[in-house]
Symmetry: D2
Subunit: 147 residues, 4 copies
């Protein structure tokens, strides 16, 4: 397990708007890419398989981004994903987006999803093996920070 | 001036993902459409003209959405835009997204932008005539709520 | 039945890129909105219901756009949808995108979809009642052009 | 120079729609990513720098995709970019999108752009050093095919 998990994402032409910086809404596409990769690589959980084969998913109940500095197609983002809180059904993540070359903070994101049965959209407990991986990742991350 | 300002938006096929509901990141595209229309119709401020002709803009410093209920292409959204706070350079908006047919809450959004010189991305005071329109809209809205 | 079918679409800030015109790929989002509305209003066919309830759909086998003039957020598009050809399973549409104010041609699109069983993605014949609506729309359109 | 140029792109959750395959319009976002990378790595031409510093760009005059097989988030695309034709101002590219695991064809794209002055959108000749790189890439590719 790579700790911390960092999603690398070059900013592209299609991310921009007429102000010649990344369009506000596109940050959320980029964050969702980072979270999808975190789920796949760290939690070993494939959203598409989970949806199509088991009829369960992790719809988001909250998403927010604080924008610290504008981004352009010359930037490459390094997005570090950390776990803020693990509830019975819900999982809260923090995303730290930094510019690779300068190392400065570009944005901070907070996203909460809820493990759910997609048929009735009722919450379900986080499956045990996923919970263990979340806990393990939290422990590895806290070692990094404290040590 | 229409008070309150409501942006009507049918949910479309292209808004969905494989869970057969609107994709998390697409809510922010929809909210930005609503805010752009609010700026144009209520504040008489055209982002594109402002950017190209004056070199000023309103980059966002914060964007968040709480998701209350899933949306599908059968839904039509009514998004009411209200002013949360007017600062020296910053403007905070609340967006209440309701499903037209059922009337229930689909999401609540909070967005803060900052009037800025796009060359150096330094904040500038909200122009006087825009400030007056913001204040007038606030007064009309509070009459509605109190009365 | 409104003949010809015209989809009205204001160009928005989020459609632009750093060249301050509409981003190439976004034309296809706009065209898909127009086609979805054409299916719903003229063919009385709801992609979402068709997909979720019947397991059939109309995946596209070809999509193309010729760009005649750039578009900016000051423009409003009028997109006229015409039927180029109706096959056993396939339907080819032509989209004429004109700027509302100036009336000049902004783009021409050609899109072909194929009625299909979504489980195995095998083609199915166009259902009879849809075929009748397509034929009727073609006749109404040709009257307009010839007469 | 890597010949042929291949852009690797995993399909993501955000690319899908309610039919649980990649949404038609999103193929064009993916193709534009591939073309942007081709311009940057093979032609050493940065769209963003070109636009902001020189006021020149390469707006597209034609874009089309033939879809051969559906794509889902389990797929990884390998998109090979080849030059179809080099004109005085225009450049036509062919994109061959193949699924990495199976090797089968997912789509073929044809895109033509036109080197232009962005102020008046008049065409300009392809700059000499870009023309040389295009020609060199064509020669390398034809060696591969013939040899």
């Amino acid at each position: 397990m790579k700790t911390p998990f960092i999603y690398r994402r070059p900013i592209r032409w299609g991310d921009t708007d007429a102000a010649r910086i990344v369009f506000t809404a596109h940050y959320f596409d980029v964050c969702m890419e980072a979270i999808e990769s975190f789920f796949l690589e760290i939690l070993e959980l494939d959203w598409f398989a989970m949806t199509c084969e088991k009829g369960t998913g992790t719809p988001f109940v909250h998403a927010e981004v604080d924008f610290h500095a504008p981004l352009t197609p010359r930037d490459v983002l390094n997005i570090r994903v950390e776990i803020e809180r693990q509830g019975n059904s819900s999982l809260s993540l923090i995303l730290y987006g930094n510019r690779e070359a300068e190392g400065d903070a570009a944005f901070t994101g907070r996203f909460t999803c809820c493990f759910s049965d997609l048929k009735n959209l009722k919450s379900i407990p986080i499956p045990d093996e996923i919970r263990q991986r979340i806990t393990y990742y939290q422990q590895q991350s806290s070692h990094l920070i404290s040590g």
